[in-house]
């Protein structure tokens, strides 16, 4: 293991040394702080059974403070860490015609090593939780410190296929870097994105590994070649599956191909994944649109289908004049702008934007003005592309800048390049001449909270002469395809009790870090986790979805991770066309009060072990989403509550578990209940609830009455189950 590089203590630390106070009264000696302290400053006094701190080793990261369950530790003093090394970006005050990459990576090993040495190599790294792909950040930074970039790539490859892309386009401030322990402590985080980029700048991203045996024989269709499709195809091809990717556009890569300008993501970087994937044998069929009606056909042609078609429909603002010529959507503008810049011809724009050239001619010396509706990342890409095309650009967004969706560094760069960004403004109408847009009426808005819609103010509008209006408020799902996928778009919101391990890590501690511009990094990460888990669950038998198709507009890294996860679920489930295979992974989940249901569950589980399936047995409350995602046959057992006459139904805990289930389309389920006198409608109630969640109930058994009947009834139920789910020799 790499030894930590010595941490440079800032000058002021000598005057105000760090001091850790362990409140002995409350310290329970649980060692949560001891195991998490990255500096080894905390240890156990086993005599008193309390934690003790060595101030001289403390670096002030305050992980102990954040993770102590009883808030028994306080740290006083400055963060003992060197200043963050940020490579300068190109300042383009006259960007016309310049399509070169704006942001630079570390130019030398010295810069990269200086930054890498700021990483504390935390034992419970919050940055890994903050990264949507869960890259093992401390390990790849450790590899950088070892000057071993090949190992760094190996570490990243475990979780990501797009490090060169993600290091350029991710909003690290609200993800990994926002969750860095230095950031959570109020300081400047390690420049994780820049270190990731340093790795890919210096050693090319390795091609897909040789196909393994896990997916051998599987034929999988992936619809869409954007980040989610790349994630899925990569995982599948490495597993040895036969992968066919259907892409509507003539070129692959989806949004990272046409949607992100070259000055942010150079063409050679965005093209890299598909060059490698096609070379690895992925059958890429560009120019092949898959409609909602085609999905069933694909299911007959392939063992599984992963829908990763993205959210391609631009949102349009319902404003008077929106149908005038010269009002276009962001994707049209970005595609045209990208092509024009690649050709080096900043004046000749394609037909849809031709009016610009006319305006330019008519306006004489003043360059035409592009009004961009929105100030998110896409809108800024539009505005900055416009600047490079020699146009003036004004962005309007009705939100307050404090709640802006764009990356703060991107906002700053756009302003440097001369983009006029007006927050708390919106367009009330567009006016035209001869059918072409000429003026926009701008009105002011007001917004006090991020979760409230801004309100328009009733003031006289400001008129702005415009030559082109680009609607860049975002994208939405294709309605017909979305209707094909029940439950989508899925809300990325963690409800109920937060995962206890996440809570224990301290990432959910408030207040939100300043570096993340007040975004609650932990909550956001937990929300993404909901989507990541959901991507492993089929939406219909043999049909999965990932990326924007599943959750609506999301980021490159989220989409890629979900694509990977869906592909891993496909490989694990190994679905087949035609006759369903006997289940290979059986989960027996039981809710037992006195032990009778548990006993019945054990007898059933033992009975099923005669097959070649892997049988697991867990109490119902432990049958969580990851468990269910890894299951081909679910057996749910419950005790029956209620009086003999009234209120006879599944136990309350079973009912609430059933009600909280996600959609598990096509999952085969068998149910049983143990009862004393009569189960009444217990099994029917369970059947209704399970079918509502898309599951298929293949067997039911009422086991009772009383304890004596359990062995015989359980045997009968097992026999019935074997005959249904394992037709053929196993049933015998």
């Amino acid at each position: 293991m790499t030894q930590l590089a010595a941490h440079e203590i800032p000058a002021q630390a000598a005057d105000r040394p760090l001091h850790v106070t362990v409140l002995i009264d409350r310290c329970a000696g649980c060692q949560e702080c001891v195991v998490r302290c990255p500096a080894g400053a905390l240890s156990m006094d086993s005599g008193r059974w309390v934690a003790v701190a060595d101030d001289s080793l403390c670096v002030g990261c305050r992980q102990c403070e954040r993770t102590c369950p009883f808030s028994a530790i306080t740290v006083r003093g400055p963060l003992a860490v060197a200043a963050r090394n940020e490579p300068p970006h190109s300042r383009l005050e006259q960007p016309t015609g310049d399509n070169s990459e704006v942001r630079a990576g570390f130019a030398s090993w010295d810069e990269a090593l200086a930054e890498a040495s700021r990483c504390l190599d935390c034992p419970d790294p919050t940055c890994v939780r903050g990264c949507p792909a869960h890259n093992d950040i401390p390990s790849f930074i450790r590899a950088v410190r070892d000057r071993d970039l090949v190992t760094a790539h190996e570490v990243i490859r475990l979780t990501s296929f797009l490090p060169d892309v993600c290091s350029r386009v991710c909003d690290q401030a609200s993800q990994c870097e926002g969750s860095c322990t230095w950031s959570l402590a109020g300081g400047e985080p390690v420049a994780i994105g820049k270190l990731e980029r340093f790795i890919t700048d210096n050693v090319p991203v390795p091609a897909p590994a040789k196909p393994g045996p896990a997916g051998s024989g599987l034929s999988v269709a992936v619809v869409g070649s954007g980040p989610a499709g790349i994630g899925a195809a990569w995982e599948l091809v490495e597993a040895g599956a036969e992968v066919t990717v259907y892409e509507r556009d003539p070129e692959p890569s989806g949004l990272i191909g046409w949607g992100i300008p070259d000055f942010t993501l150079p063409q050679e970087v965005s093209a890299r994944p598909w060059q490698q994937l096609t070379a690895a044998g992925v059958d890429l069929r560009c120019g092949t649109e898959v409609t909602a009606d085609d999905v069933d056909r694909l299911l007959t042609e392939h063992d599984a289908v992963i829908l990763a078609h993205g959210a391609p429909m631009p949102l349009r603002m319902p404003v008077p004049g929106a149908d005038l010529d010269g009002v276009v959507d962001a994707s049209s503008f970005l595609k045209a702008g990208k092509a024009a810049l690649e050709n080096g011809d900043v004046i000749s724009l394609p037909d849809s934007l031709i009016g610009l050239a006319e305006a330019r001619d008519g306006a004489g010396c003043a360059s035409p003005l592009v009004l961009v509706l929105g100030a998110g990342n896409t809108a800024l890409d539009v505005a900055r592309t416009a600047r490079r095309l020699g146009l003036r650009a004004v962005c309007v967004d009705w939100v307050d800048e404090h709640f802006a969706l764009a990356r703060p560094d991107e906002l700053a760069e756009a302003r440097e390049e001369g983009v006029d960004i007006r927050f708390l403004h919106t367009v009330s109408s567009l006016e035209g001449e001869d059918g072409r847009v000429r003026r926009a009426a701008l009105i002011k808005t007001r917004q006090h909270r991020a979760d409230r819609r801004p309100k328009t103010l009733h003031e006289a509008p400001e008129m702005l002469d415009v030559d082109l209006v680009v609607m860049a408020m975002g994208y939405r799902l294709h309605p017909a395809l979305a209707a094909r996928l029940p439950g989508t778009p899925l809300a990325r919101e963690a409800r109920g009790v937060p995962d206890r391990r996440w809570l224990a890590s301290g990432i959910l501690a408030s207040p939100a870090p300043e570096f993340a511009h007040g975004k609650p990094v932990g909550r956001l990460a937990l929300g993404r986790e909901v989507a990541l888990t959901a991507s492993s669950l089929p939406l219909q038998e043999r049909l999965w979805a990932a990326g924007d198709a599943l959750v609506g507009p999301s980021t490159v890294v989220e989409a890629m991770s979900q694509g990977r996860r869906a592909a891993a679920a496909v490989i694990s489930a190994g679905p087949t066309r035609g006759q369903p295979r006997p289940p290979r992974r059986v989960l027996v989940a039981y809710e037992s009060r006195t032990g009778h249901t548990e006993r019945a569950a054990r007898l059933i589980a033992d009975g099923l072990r005669s097959t070649d399936a892997v049988v697991r047995m867990v109490p119902l409350r432990e049958a969580t989403l990851p468990e269910l995602a890894d299951t081909d046959l679910l057996i749910v057992g419950t005790w029956v509550e209620g009086m003999v006459v009234g209120g006879v139904r599944p136990a309350a805990a079973t009912r609430s578990w059933l009600a909280g289930l996600p959609r598990l389309a096509g999952l085969r389920v068998a149910t049983f209940c143990t009862f004393a006198i009569s189960p009444k409608q217990t099994l029917a109630t369970m059947r209704g609830e399970l079918q509502d969640h898309g599951m298929v109930v293949i067997a039911e058994g009422a086991i009772g009455p009383g304890a004596r009947s359990i062995p015989r009834a359980a045997e009968r139920f097992t026999g019935q189950l074997l005959a249904t789910a394992w037709p053929g020799p196993a049933a015998g």
Partner: protein, 489 residues
């Protein structure tokens, strides 16, 4: 670890949750609600009846139930169980319902600011509740609330406690009020450590140490994190276990049980002694002795003399009150300091620097364990102090209830004048209780001194004799004061 926790760990077979009915009861989220609810009803009745009911204290339900019955019952619960009262307390319970926004459910969002209690105060641990207890007792003496005073005074006292509890529950997290400010917390905690319920403890410490989530501390799916800041895996006494069963509900590994223990285990066995508990015991001892001494005519003379010189209008003079209590506590500490001077080994270093809770010294090496040994005699003294009211007036609860329900003749009830026991029999019972407490203290001190005092002393037998003699003297003083009080009556 065996050395650290072995003496205080209850036997594995003494886990009440092995009984499925107990387990089911404790698993139920309504468990604590159902404990609190009857007390809640009683104490809201106390408030309203105290304010609106008869002004005759003996006939007022508020006065009768609070001072004739409840205070005695709390003591019995302390001595037998531990913090049983805390599990059913309507004051903290009420405030907790509001803080949690629920009567019994496991909610995720709490109401209020959820602040952490400031460390500079929290480091004084159970000394803070002693301070509030001293204050409350002084107020109670000043307004003569318990003795029996006017019923509305009892109501206002209860309103005051509920309001301050609510305030603290809304400002601070968990049961900060109960842990650091409740006037009864230190008394129940220390005297309760004689109790035979160890509280909620780990079944297998290794499982807890390797637990990744610590749901018992942070809160889990089914239960809140410990409101009392106690970790079942490292609890070595029942001192800060509120018996609320939240940890039992929260544990994802079913690794927590509710254990019984031999009486006095939490006095004798804890390996980590706490300075705040030691000083709390000394001050509580000073207070109970004060309450005996103030019944003597000499005290009245001193109090009156001080009042006239300090222009204070009323008994009890605060200088005399605090002066006597602190003097008695310091006297106790002084005797122990003397023992430490005489017996401490010269070849040992005792000094460890640090704040109030952390530091160690030669004096503390004797004072802290010896005060733990005193707990039974202090507890017995408090209990004995409550007995006269119980024996003389407990039966008044029946006419008080009748009066509340509208009876006009309740005062004529024979139960109004009835006495379960009279003097000198009451004194006999008091002295007997003190004798039992003293015996328990002798036993505790014998065990504690053998384990903790002898190894740091020259002349093991002599120091043990000195320690035991001290406890005997304390018992004798308390008993003698009861006899003198009776004579003063």
């Amino acid at each position: 670890m065996a050395e650290r926790f072995g003496p205080s760990d209850p036997p594995s077979g003494w886990d009440l949750t092995r009984n499925p009915r107990v387990a089911r009861l404790l698993r139920s989220r309504r468990f604590q609600f159902l404990l609190i609810l009857p007390n809640q009803l009683v104490f809201w009745t106390v408030i309203f009846v105290g304010l609106l009911g008869t002004v005759v204290p003996g006939l007022n339900f508020g006065t009768a139930i609070t001072w004739y019955i409840w205070f005695c019952l709390v003591f019995v619960m302390m001595v037998v169980v531990g913090r049983a009262w805390c599990a059913m307390c309507p004051f903290g319970g009420f405030a907790e319902w509001i803080q949690r926004r629920t009567l019994w459910q496991r909610t995720q969002k709490v109401l209020g600011l959820g602040r952490k209690f400031p460390e500079p105060l929290a480091r004084y641990g159970f000394l803070l509740p002693v301070a509030t207890f001293l204050l409350l007792t002084w107020i109670e003496e000043y307004f003569n609330i318990a003795g029996p005073g006017t019923p509305s005074a009892t109501s206002w006292m209860v309103v005051g406690i509920v309001t301050s509890a609510l305030l603290f529950f809304l400002i601070f997290e968990r049961r900060t009020f109960c842990r650091y400010l409740c006037p009864l917390s230190a008394l129940i905690g220390t005297v309760g450590s004689m109790g035979s319920v160890a509280g909620f403890r780990t079944k297998d410490r290794e499982v807890c140490l390797s637990c990744e989530t610590k749901d018992c501390m942070r809160g889990g799916e089914e239960g809140f994190g410990c409101p009392w800041y106690t970790w079942p895996a490292s609890a070595d006494s029942n001192l800060a276990c509120g018996l609320c069963s939240e940890c039992y509900k929260a544990c994802p590994s079913n690794n927590i049980g509710m254990y019984l223990q031999k009486p006095l285990t939490s006095v004798i066995a804890p390996t980590r002694r706490r300075a705040d508990v030691a000083w709390a015991v000394a001050l509580l001892w000073g207070l109970v002795l004060y309450q005996q001494i103030n019944a003597l005519s000499i005290y009245a003379t001193v109090d009156t003399w001080l009042n006239s010189h300090l222009a204070f209008p009323h008994y009890p003079n605060p200088v005399a009150y605090m002066g006597l209590i602190v003097a008695l506590a310091l006297l106790t500490a002084g005797v122990m300091w003397t023992i430490s001077r005489v017996f401490a080994r010269k070849d040992m270093t005792f000094t460890v620097k640090g704040n109030f809770m952390e530091r160690a010294s030669r004096f503390r090496a004797y004072f802290v364990p010896l005060t733990y040994g005193m707990i039974p005699v202090v507890g017995a003294d408090y209990f004995a102090r409550q007995l006269p009211k119980f024996f003389q007036h407990a039966t008044r609860i029946v006419p008080a209830v009748q009066q509340t329900l509208g009876s006009q003749t309740a005062i004529k009830s024979p139960l109004y004048q009835m006495r379960l026991l009279s003097n000198p029999h009451i004194v006999g019972v008091q002295v007997t209780i003190i004798a039992i407490g003293t015996l328990a203290a002798v036993w505790s001190t014998w065990k504690i001194s053998g384990r903790e005092i002898v190894p740091v002393s020259r002349g093991g037998a002599a120091v043990r004799v000195a320690s035991l003699s001290l406890v005997l003297v304390f018992g004798a003083v308390a008993a003698m004061l009861y006899v003198l009080m009776n004579a003063a009556d």
